[in-house]
Amino acid sequence: MIVSIDWLKDFVDIKETPEELSEILSSVGLEAEYTDSFSEISNVIIGKVLSVEKHPNADRLNVCSVNDGEYNYQVVCGAPNVKAGQIIAYAKVGSVLPGGFKLEKIKLRGVESSGMICSAKELNISDEHDGILVLPGTCNIGGEFFKEYGYKYLNIELDVTPNRPDAFSHYGVARDISVILGRKLVSHSFTSKVKEFKPRFSLTIDDQNDCTRYVGGLLSNVNVKPSPQWMQERLIAVGQRPINNLVDISNYVLMEMGQPTHIFDWDKIKSNEILVRRAKKKEIIKTLDQNSFELDETHLVISDGMNPIAIAGVMGGLDSAVDEKTTTVFVESAYFDPITVRKSSKSLRLSTEASKRFERGADPEATTNAFWRIVALIEEYGNGEFQGEFLDLISKEFTKTVIRLRLSEVTQIIGLEVEPKKIIDILKGIGCEVSLLDNSDLDCIPPSYRPDISREIDLIEEIARIYGYDNIPSDNSLYGEMIVEESDPQLYLQEFRESMSSLGFFQHYSNSLQNKMTANIVGDNSIAMLNPLNKDMAYLRTSLIPNLIKAAHLNIKNSIKSIRLYELANIHTQSGKKLKQMSEEIRLAGIIFGIEQKSSVHSDKVLFDIFSLKGILASLIGEKVYKNLDIIDTDDTFYEFGFTLSYKDELIGSFGKLSKNIFKTLKVDKVDMFAFDICIEKLNFSKSVIKFEPINAFPKIARRINLVMDQSDSIKPVLNLIKDKAGEELIDYYPVEIFEDVESLGENKKSVVFEMVFQHKEKTLEDKDVNPIIDEIIDIAQKNFNAKLRV
């Protein structure tokens, strides 16, 4: 909400600068932002238009004579509304306007022009630039523009939290200022001396829960015209557009007192019955903003006995709106139930200044005060006559609640003993009725405009708020019981992140929301949003790899030739629509692309391949576990060729070269890219404490066998055989050499040298310990795998 500082001064004395006032308002919970829109304007003064003559060479221009209190200047002006005798804002030659625009003496179509007559837009007052800004006659000619007039537009933007409907008005904000600064708050209440008169209309409220109070009354002989200049200025200052005196008066009272009201054209209402009721199904209303809404029982309406004439607390109907021909008006000032208004406004997606205030909780006791204020203003500025025709229907009395406040609890919660006198001053300041009990506790009745105060803790908050959070000392002692809990359950992930960093990988953080195709890339089990931002972000991801590919693509476009990227984050899948059937799992996925080792003085260029990835995984997963992993081919279409990783018969992930389908789905160019995806929780061994094993000091002994095998045969059976037969003393085994040579080996043959390393825990191994094993392995290999020992 925007508040005008000039307006606030109606109710409380303010000597502070706008910056200081902003700080004060922020310090009491009304987060304030002041934007200085005038300091960049200089040398603009109040002038008077002495004469206006047609420009000799341009139809739309006028040549004016402007007096600045001392001299007369010739100014060419293009505004259609310029007239002799007007008091205006005159920007002299040398003055600076918003945007750093500096005025110079110029010729316009052959006529010299010294300076400019300004529009409201050129002075940062509003967006109005169809004509010049005409000032009231009270401005002193020759005076500085800001001091004479511009100050009226100093404003502060407040972010009012939902618990403070009372601060949604100038009077409410002034009240907080008065409490915090200890200044007097000007009383602002209205009544009428006119005798009540039996009105020509009836008033009915269907359900007292929807509307606890409704004040309505008639004024006749109203003259619809522009509202007075001061009122327009204030509305403009708070960002409202003036329309006519009736609409402006209603808006003015809303901004001033926070009570929404509505003014109907009485002659357009087809009966004498005003009824507050729920809408009927399929009932239609056309609202002031020219929209049509189909209503149902959710919506509370004001009806003329037949049709709805307003959506209660939200917006009036077009058919009963005031216009320039209006002569008799019906003024409504009511209290509508917050939840009812909120449901109505939400379901219609129609949020207005009125609905915002009702749904937060208007002041149930403010209806009459606002009504009489409206009546007085219409009488004064719209020639309206009020003859006593009004009704104040209370369907449910406002009940005051008494709240017991324990001073001990104040001290406990705030952590500081606040003087009882200070507490009472604060509570009275915000409008509470306070009575002191024998045990020095207090009984408080909060004011009707503070629906947020209903419990002891609400009062304590008020005390802390007004006392000032910055005035509450900080307790730096570490208080409380030290609780032994399991340490960070995700601590183990940090080891993986550090490993990834040292393997050259950058960590990626990406959007969890994707389009349907991408989210269902690995299975049709993604979770959809009911209300997505857009189609591209309508589903939760089921795999981390698509975003890695997209990020890689972005980097490829930026000419990056070598990419190692990973993400460690949650994925979500569902097996049904219930919360219990939705699962969250943390995954570690990565991709490699392009150059593994660029060419240098030391070596030639090396490209990433599947064995780069395999090596990375071995290093990442760690020797102990990696050695015991099972790697099996998978026909997952995700990969052009891919493999699953299992540990102790449990699937822990997969890796491979990404298939071209994936690139197609993601609409990016296909490149050779390798990826892995691991269920990292299954590699969390942080709970098992590593126990030290004595270092084995006995010598290792290595043996090699050279087998000639069919080219197409995998080495896997041989490796398995070695593992099976070699026994406990085998500590390492791997192929060390592979070569193909038709001359020495024959067609479609390869020679593979396997090395085995043995070490015993308790003795030095000798030939006789190892040789029989080697012989057996060779023997079985030759028999079972079509392999031959090469000598």
Binding site: S26, G29, E31, T161, P162, N163, R342, E359, Q412, I413, I414, G415, L416, I457, D458, I460, R465, Y469, P473, D475, N476, Y479, G480, M482, I483, P489, R497, S501, S502, L503, F506, Q507, H508, Y509, S510, L513, I527, A528, M529, L530, N531, L533, L540, N547, A551, N555, N558, R564, L565, N570, L579, M582, V601, H602, S603, P699, K700, A702, R704, D767
Partner: protein
């Protein structure tokens, strides 16, 4: 033992020995053992005389090969050590060999910093679900349906009663449902808001939630705790400001700003307050015994402030030119 077996055995012994040797002095010892006048290989040559005429060429060849292999291996050790010691040949202005290093994402680093600071003062770390029911994300936190406070956070709905959590505060409820007081936790995690993407807002971000429940907890202690955090995070001399604010699940509620010298303005870093009694009621804690404070901070916001990052989208697009800066 036949000569053939002997050759094999000597070769294996050599390989085993060789594996333990790393410099030229070690190589010299092995030369002595295998290739000297009484060395093991030399001795095998001596056995050649005992084999049959037909076999002689084959074994001769095998033995020669063995000698060559051994020599090659030992010489390779010699030469590597020689190069290293040969200072004249090194031009150290040649580039080093490449060992690429990656980085941990700046959001992760920031989150780790936050965790570390709170761990130092006795907070444990817990996590909770990103998809949750309306109850844990809203109602139990004193945000009833049809309350204007719901407008404070634009929510993604998965189903009528299932949401993507809008804050990590849902974990407050889970924790209190599972554990008896006292408790002291921080909860890092990803949260979602149905907001259009721009340089300053994204449809998701990360929060760290804090919750402390004990017997005599006060606002003054909350101030002490969070001032400790802010000083650790942003420097001991950073100016701070406490403003009253509103969150349905805390009362009194506050927002904390730090002064940003560069932007010449206050910047909000976190929201906090005393746990609202309604929240304790929804988890069955006795409000006459237990009191607490809670806080929540945006990791992105803190990282942006600390590192002068001016566009939130940079965090999520995986541009290596961004990632490698941290």
């Amino acid at each position: 033992m036949s000569l053939k077996d002997s050759i094999k055995s000597v070769k294996n012994d050599f390989l085993t020995d060789f594996a333990t040797v790393s410099d030229s002095s070690g190589a010299d010892l092995l030369k002595q053992k295998y290739l000297s006048r009484n060395g093991l290989v030399t001795n095998l040559f001596k056995q050649l005389g005992q084999v049959s005429k037909e076999d002689k060429p084959l074994f001769g060849q095998l033995l020669n090969q063995l000698k060559i292999d051994l020599n090659d291996k030992l010489n390779s050790l010699d030469s590597t050590s020689d190069t290293v010691s040969d200072a004249d040949k090194i031009d150290i202005f040649m580039p080093g060999k490449i060992y690429p290093s990656g980085s941990i994402h700046i959001l992760e680093q920031t989150m780790l910093d936050i965790k570390k600071i709170f761990s130092e003062i006795g907070f444990n770390v817990a996590y909770g679900p990103e998809i949750d029911d309306d109850y844990h994300n809203f109602s139990a936190l004193n945000v009833p349906e049809h309350h204007p406070a719901r407008d404070m956070q634009d929510t993604f709905f998965v189903d009528k009663d299932i949401v993507l959590r809008t804050h990590t505060s849902n974990v407050q409820i889970h924790l209190m449902e599972q554990e008896e007081p006292p408790l002291r936790f921080i909860v890092p995690g990803r949260v979602y808001r149905n907001e259009a993407i721009s340089y300053k807002s994204y449809c998701l971000f990360h929060q760290v939630e804090g919750l402390f429940v004990d017997k005599n907890v006060s606002f003054s202690q909350l101030k002490g705790c969070l001032e400790y955090f802010a000083k650790k995070m942003f420097g001991a001399n950073r100016k701070m400001r406490w403003r009253p604010s509103y969150f349905p699940f805390t009362e009194p509620s506050a927002e904390v700003d730090i002064w940003d010298e560069q932007r010449n303005q206050w910047m909000e870093i976190l929201g906090c307050g005393m746990v609202d009694p309604e929240v304790f009621k929804s988890v069955g804690y006795d409000t006459n015994v237990w009191r607490g404070y809670a806080f929540g901070m945006g990791v992105e916001r803190i990282a942006m402030l600390k590192h002068d990052i001016d566009d939130i989208r940079l965090f999520y697009n995986g541009d290596v030119r961004f990632l490698r800066q941290f």
